[in-house]
């Protein structure tokens, strides 16, 4: 029999998180700080709209790019948060999560051999999606001393004649880093000068704890070269609804819609109706959740400081990214031993790129009570390690 598989797909490494997941799921009583989704339930009024749409029999496809009502609300939202105007009919698409938007944006813009710049540590799907789109992924290793922000110099050094796209993943999973306006202005200059494009993954835009999130698309001359990606998962605790969106210039959007049309048809209808309610009446829910995350973030920062663990202060998403280099173990070893000895699951930084070595991703999408228990256990583990030294 011939080999049924695509060589390209086979060479893609499975997600580093998967391996860890398998170990953790074996342990029934493990406390996990490894989850990349909110602990809150979707606010009831949003769920209720979804249920209502089902009761009303709204169970058909929507138009390919999404419900007109929803696209309009998305355009309104971007306008009121970023001061950016997108045409709901030609510049907005509703996707199956932000992940689909990343995939179709890459496929719409890449030709074989184009280079895609991917700052790491970052979300696990950029590199494989770039490969699947026939791009050559080029990794930019972000540095702890820059608080894991992307600097203009790092960007400039990575750009070649083949560079077409920069993926800009801020607020960042797994580091919690953000890019403030002045940081963005510096890299925007390079982007315009070198004539490249940006896929800006802003899925955690609502979860910043130091001023409001600024989209790079809102800077002068950047809207026309940016695909802005966001979604409902993190802001409204709607991960399971699988709903994201992208805003981009009509020229790019037209091609993205084409891929989406053939591959997906349309995003789930129930989720789209629920999302309309989220954008119309969900601001208070977002504010409440943001405040809860911020309290937990402060608690974790305090706890790590008490333990004497180095940890830069992250101002976005719901992760902290402490450094464990002092223990002379790889991130994976550390995480595995912590799980075996204290039954606390955290994700090794290397799951998000090689340069995550020496760090752990700790999610604070957990109640303060749970975080307290877990942090005590981590403290005990660390004390034992230091004693042995």
């Amino acid at each position: 029999m011939r080999n049924p598989l695509s060589e390209k797909v086979v060479t893609i490494k499975p997600s580093g998180i998967r391996k860890f997941f398998d170990i953790v799921s074996e342990m029934k009583d493990a406390i996990s700080l490894g989850v990349g989704e909110p602990d809150f339930d979707t606010p009831w009024h949003i769920r209720d709209e979804g249920i209502y749409s089902l009761e009303k029999g709204r169970t058909f496809y929507t138009s390919n790019s999404g419900l007109k009502e929803l696209k309009t609300e998305i355009a309104n939202y971007i306008e009121r948060t970023q001061g950016l105007t997108y045409d709901a009919d030609h510049e907005v698409i509703v996707t199956v999560g932000g992940s689909e938007a990343i995939d179709i944006a890459l496929r719409a813009m890449i030709d074989e051999g184009d280079e895609v710049l991917i700052p790491q540590p970052s979300y696990v799907s950029y590199e494989p999606c770039a490969i699947l789109a026939n791009a050559r992924p080029v990794i930019i290793e972000l540095k702890e001393e820059n608080e894991f922000r992307l600097t203009a110099q790092e960007l400039r050094e990575a750009i070649t004649d083949q560079t077409k796209i920069l993926i800009l993943p801020f607020p960042n999973n797994p580091t919690g880093a953000i890019m403030e306006k002045k940081d963005l202005e510096e890299i925007a200059e390079v982007i315009r000068e070198k004539d490249i494009f940006v896929i800006s993954d802003e899925i955690y835009a609502e979860l910043t704890f130091k001023g409001k999130h600024v989209s790079i698309a809102s800077l002068p001359g950047m809207k026309e070269r940016t695909v802005l990606i966001n979604g409902f998962s993190k802001a409204y605790a709607m991960t399971g609804w699988r709903l994201g969106y992208a805003c981009a210039p009509a020229q790019i959007m037209e091609q993205m819609v084409k891929i989406h049309q053939f591959a997906i048809m349309c995003a789930p209808t129930t989720s789209q109706y629920a999302a309309v309610e989220a954008l119309r009446n969900g601001d208070d829910d977002v504010a409440t959740m943001r405040e809860a995350y911020n309290q937990r973030r402060r608690f974790l920062m305090y706890s790590f400081k008490e333990m004497g663990i180095r940890c830069f202060e992250p101002y976005g998403a719901f992760y902290v990214f402490p450094c464990i280099k002092e223990f002379g173990m790889t991130s994976e070893e550390f995480a595995e031993r912590l799980l075996a000895e204290e039954k606390v699951a955290v994700v090794p930084g290397t799951a998000f790129g090689d340069c995550g070595e020496g760090f752990l991703r700790i999610s604070y999408a957990y109640s303060l009570e749970d975080l307290k228990i877990a942090l005590e256990k981590i403290g005990a583990f660390i004390a034992r390690l230091r004693e042995k030294k």
């Binding site: 997600s15 998180i17 860890f20 997941f21 953790v24 799921s25 493990a30 996990s32 490894g34 989850v35 990349g36 989704e37 602990d39 979300y123 696990v124 799907s125 999973n173 405040e291 309290q295 937990r296 402060r298 608690f299 305090y302 699951a345 994700v347 799951a351 303060l368």
Partner: protein, 160 residues
């Protein structure tokens, strides 16, 4: 700051000053001063515990009683409300807009104890025109806390 402190201690009055300071990013002295000020001003009236008596072996009956009254000259409803709220078995007394005047919640050891309080004490008060007693059969949610079932984390244990 006050609003944030109140939002937290409304849900968890056992949280200590140090913890409050950490999660609000403030110093302990500020928190302690705010708490003290709010206690003195009567903003914070107590640090109660929410108990689901159903789960204990202690018998308790709670009733909501609608009371219609004749307001008194110069006193309005205050005088009669006071005569009602002074009974220790009365949990709360609210002046209500709509079809009746006072909503009284009452806790008693048994249906009989509550009924006799209503018929002997409440109905006979001067100015009380009528009462309607509703017994609580089951509490699903109280003080913003769902009693019917416990939160369960059904998320996958590790996700990207």
């Amino acid at each position: 700051m006050r609003e944030q402190i109140l939002a937290i201690i409304e849900k968890n009055s056992r949280i200590n000053i140090k913890e409050l300071a950490v999660i609000l990013g403030a110093d302990e002295l500020t928190i302690a001063n705010e708490l003290k000020a709010m206690e003195e001003e009567g903003v914070i009236c107590g640090y109660h515990t929410m108990i689901d008596w159903e789960k204990t072996s202690i018998e308790k009956v709670t009733a909501l009683i609608e009371v219609r009254i004749t307001p008194q000259r110069n006193q309005g409803y205050d005088n009669i409300a006071e005569r009602i709220y002074k009974y220790p078995e009365v949990n709360s007394v609210y002046l209500i807009s709509g079809g009746y005047d006072l909503l009284v919640t009452l806790e008693g050891k048994s249906l009989k104890a509550v009924s006799s309080f209503v018929s002997d004490k409440l109905s006979t008060l001067e100015g009380v025109l009528s009462t309607a007693t509703h017994f609580i059969l089951k509490k699903y949610k109280d003080h913003g806390t769902i009693l019917a079932k416990k939160y369960e984390d059904t998320r996958e244990k590790v996700t990207p």
